[in-house]
Symmetry: C2
Subunit: 258 residues, 2 copies
């Protein structure tokens, strides 16, 4: 492993939980967890066997790295609140869409693990692509080797490209899941259990191991089969949002296939 780091987590959500666990398992030292919510801070600290606080003034001063894993909107103010007395430490955030400069004019960096985390499902960090950058070359090297302790896929990526990466992830994860949610809703209204859809969903994802999404595209929209499309739009007449999605996706599929 890389040099053992003394780490404080600012934030105790799903990402902090998964990342903290992986870093601890890899041999790094988690000193403390801070969360605005005492219950969350306490739960994660129990898991990581470290200290915790819900008082920003009680965050320890002697960590090498402070990892901010909080909502985008509070990143700046939390970093500013912790600035004083920690000038020598490295501040790092884990947000895909945020510039590292939000952490202030100081030693700063980003470690963005691109995965969807939920408290109930443990994930293996080994296969999660991690994207790092830092204001100093020595710090980006440090983050690369620390990320390399927990993941087999570590990339250096600048903030501008990372924004687009995060945006692509929104399409591939969040919007994909919304398509599942609409499918599930339609099935539910017709008394069909959603689990019948799982083999199709899993094969649609697995196909991408051998075909690009463009090559893998199937369905009536590829040929813009008006007959099927009009009939299916009709089936959705009671659900304007589902119709809107159907219409825009069908047009897009057809245009991309040309």
């Amino acid at each position: 492993m890389s040099e053992r780091m003394r780490i404080v987590f600012i934030g105790a959500g799903n990402l902090a939980t998964n990342l903290g666990t992986a870093l601890k398992d890899a041999g790094h030292e988690i000193l403390q967890v801070y969360s605005r919510t005492e219950k969350s801070a306490s739960a994660l600290s129990g898991h990581l066997q470290c200290g915790y606080t819900a008082d920003i003034d009680k965050v320890v001063y002697d960590a090498d790295i402070y990892i901010f894993s909080v909502k985008d909107s509070v990143l700046g103010q939390l970093a500013a609140a912790l600035e004083k007395g920690r000038e020598k430490a490295l501040f790092v955030h884990t947000a895909g869409s945020m510039d590292m400069d939000v952490l202030g004019d100081r030693r700063r960096g980003v470690l963005y693990p691109m995965q969807t985390f939920s408290k109930l499902r443990p994930v293996s960090f080994k296969t999660i692509p991690c994207f790092v950058e830092a204001s100093e070359k020595t710090d980006s090297d440090l983050l690369k080797s620390m990320a390399g302790d927990i993941s087999d896929s570590v990339y250096e990526l600048g903030g501008e490209d990372r924004k687009y990466l995060h945006l692509a992830a929104v399409f591939c994860c969040n919007f994909t899941n919304h398509c599942y949610a609409i499918g599930s809703d339609i099935l539910e209204r017709h008394g069909i259990p959603f689990r019948v859809m799982l083999p199709l969903i899993e094969e649609t994802a697995a196909k991408l191991r051998s075909l690009s999404p463009r090559e893998a595209q199937t369905g009536p929209a590829v040929r813009y089969d008006r007959n099927v499309i009009d009939k299916q739009m009709g089936l959705l007449s009671a659900y304007p949002h589902f119709q809107d999605v159907y219409d825009i996706m069908s047009r897009g599929i057809h245009e991309m296939s040309l």
Copy 2:
């Protein structure tokens, strides 16, 4: 296995190839393959070791079941063309969105395997949910046991519900894949290989084994985080279609989360 059937395939596409292979492997007899395209008919017949023809007048008369696996738009005319002299046989189609009555006023049924097929990827039929219906109770029993020879998940489902099932599949497969295609396009423009997205895509699908799509939904749209949403819409300003998808999906995710 169920009683051995003598089967003719009308159509030689991906679905016919996969279904024909599974039925043959289960011990049924494939007599012949018909396709308008001689090359396709010949290729599949070689695979299934049976006869083939590209001449509709040369389709054999002595099959128990004719399985129509062709484009929706030609189903009716092909069934009509083959009607005469085959009054005692069972006509079956494999289309999710078509009524069985398109096959005419005769012994008719549907066997809809809900999966996405591509010539290059062999799929195991065992896990594919198959939905059957027929005009006669004896025929729906027959189709159920024949489907049971190749799949562990066989359901009887009427035509009206099957249309909604197929529509749900369009959302969960075709539209999901379009989200992947947009993500892939965004990455390509920034020189990032699409394969970095695969662990996220696979976990997004795998999550559904333990959470419903509503429970699994994450991302800025859940809270309708205007700050992130406006910034991401801005990143897409050169791509009106991607913006349209982003906008409609974000609104839908937020509404469903309320």
